[in-house]
């Protein structure tokens, strides 16, 4: 890796001591990035062409949904037509059409969350070792432990609770369109609120923890390093000089290794996360646009159902984004190191 070679200080701390884990089965991680931004650009350029099939499929699905909403709206204008029967038919048709794409995207979202969590389990010990090696013992332990706890809580919450909640939410939305019961709509809105706030609370707590850790453990590590410097300065000049040079060289080497692993890790996390996020994002935007167009001629309830499905996609985006955000923030803190 060009990046690693540039950063590594040969002979001081071989990078093989901190082996960089590679995400399994992912061909998107850049092999020879010259810089972090070069790596990000490479990942984005690889992701965009892959979106075309998803975009085409999504557009077709939205066109079909438009046709259903138009049908419902036209039949509704017939004299003698019953609102209940028409909305019931609309709910069944729209729900069935949307369920196919929703199910595959929810599966993609869950898979992404799992992959991120598993990659984190491989990467974090290496980062922790590298940070401990560069003098940040207390910070390293606090960051590693905290990130693992929050990541485990978040990924468990998503896979065990939030994803099933999405299905319950969709169920309530379909039933609401079919039956027109306000209570169902309120229940669905409550669920959505719960899911959104569940994610927000975990991320707020994590950000708070990171901020606190940076202050408390960073101060401890900085004090330890200062104490070591004082000890060295009290020694015989030649020995003190040798120790000081050697310590500094090792710290720089460990820092360089930590940076190299960290930057590669961040690129790997982005490589795992970006494509699924864009695929789900495309569906979310298409459904939003479809709901806006349907709003011109569709009945309130049928347009509402399309909006609710786009809301579900939005929740999925939030879940995958939260997992990625957590890992990236943690890696940035590792990279920042002590002080």
């Amino acid at each position: 890796m060009n990046l690693l070679n540039t950063l590594s200080m040969a002979g001081i701390l071989p990078l093989t001591e901190f082996p960089v884990p590679e995400p399994s089965g992912n061909l998107w991680v850049p092999e020879q990035p010259d810089s972090f931004w070069e790596g990000v650009r490479e990942i984005v350029l690889k992701a965009l062409p892959e979106l075309q099939p998803a975009l085409a499929e999504g557009l077709w699905a939205c066109l079909v949904i438009l046709a259903v909403v138009l049908l419902v709206a036209v039949v509704r204008t017939f004299p003698g037509s019953t609102e209940q029967a028409v909305e019931l038919a609309g709910a069944v048709a729209t729900g069935t059409l949307l369920l196919r794409s929703t199910h595959s995207l929810v599966g993609l979202g869950v898979d992404t969350v799992r992959q991120l969590s598993e990659y984190g389990k491989l990467l974090l010990p290496v980062m922790a070792a590298a940070l401990a090696g560069s003098g940040g013992t207390v910070t390293s332990a606090a960051l590693y432990g905290g990130t693992v706890i929050f990541d485990t809580v978040l990924s468990s919450l998503i896979t065990r609770f939030l994803v099933p909640m999405i299905y319950v939410y969709l169920c309530l939305c379909v039933a609401n369109q079919a039956l027109g019961e306000d209570t169902l709509k309120k229940l669905a809105d409550l669920l959505k609120w719960l899911m959104t706030w569940g994610l927000k609370i975990i991320l707020y707590l994590f950000t708070g923890y990171i901020g606190l850790t940076g202050v408390v453990s960073g101060t401890t590590d900085a004090a330890a390093m200062k104490a070591a410097k004082l000890t060295v300065s009290g020694m015989i000049p030649v020995v003190g000089g040798i120790l000081s040079d050697a310590s500094e060289a090792v710290l720089i080497g460990a820092d360089a290794a930590k940076n190299a692993v960290g930057i590669y890790g961040m690129l790997a996390v982005l490589a795992i996360w970006l494509r699924p996020f864009l695929e789900i994002g495309v569906q979310y935007l298409l459904l939003k646009a479809t709901a806006a167009v349907c709003g011109i001629f569709g009945t309130k309830r049928s347009v509402g159902l399309v909006k609710d499905y786009s809301g579900a996609m939005g929740l999925l985006l939030a879940m995958t984004g939260a997992c990625c955000f957590l890992l990236l923030v943690s890696l940035i803190c590792f990279l920042k190191g002590v002080g």
Partner: protein
């Protein structure tokens, strides 16, 4: 469009005739009412052909089971017929008959909606099955 205006004119004339015939005998005015209403309905059906063609096009695009649309149109048809017949009965002074027809129409609509309700339950079941 001139057919529409002619039909409206014809309906107004029929209304006046009904009032006149009612003095002779209520049954004559009722017969005239049923006849003219039937003719207007048949005329309305002629204009449905392009609408039905549009529905068939939408159906092909949607690609779902066409039974849903057929049921919807049956419901609409039954509602129109039931409502019209009920109003004729009410106009002729048979309120109880009108109510009876209204009840029958409602039950029939519910019976026709059953496949769609089953479809809804199946859909919810397939969504909830993902919960595992």
């Amino acid at each position: 469009m001139d057919i529409y205006f002619k039909t409206v004119a014809g309906a107004l004339v029929a209304a006046v005739l009904c009032l006149t015939l009612a003095k002779q005998g209520k049954e004559f005015s009722l017969l005239l009412l049923v006849l003219v209403t039937g003719m207007i309905t048949v005329l309305a059906l002629e204009y449905l052909d392009p609408v039905m063609a549009f529905f068939r096009r939408l159906e092909d695009l949607i690609g779902l089971d066409s039974g849903v649309l057929r049921i919807l149109l049956k419901i609409v048809g039954i509602s129109v017929v039931g409502e019209t017949a009920g109003m004729i009965c009410a106009d002729s002074g048979n309120g109880a008959l009108a109510k009876g027809l209204q009840f029958l129409t409602g039950i029939l609509v519910l019976w026709l909606s059953l496949p769609m309700l089953e479809g809804l339950l199946e859909l919810m079941d397939s969504i909830l099955r993902e919960l595992g």
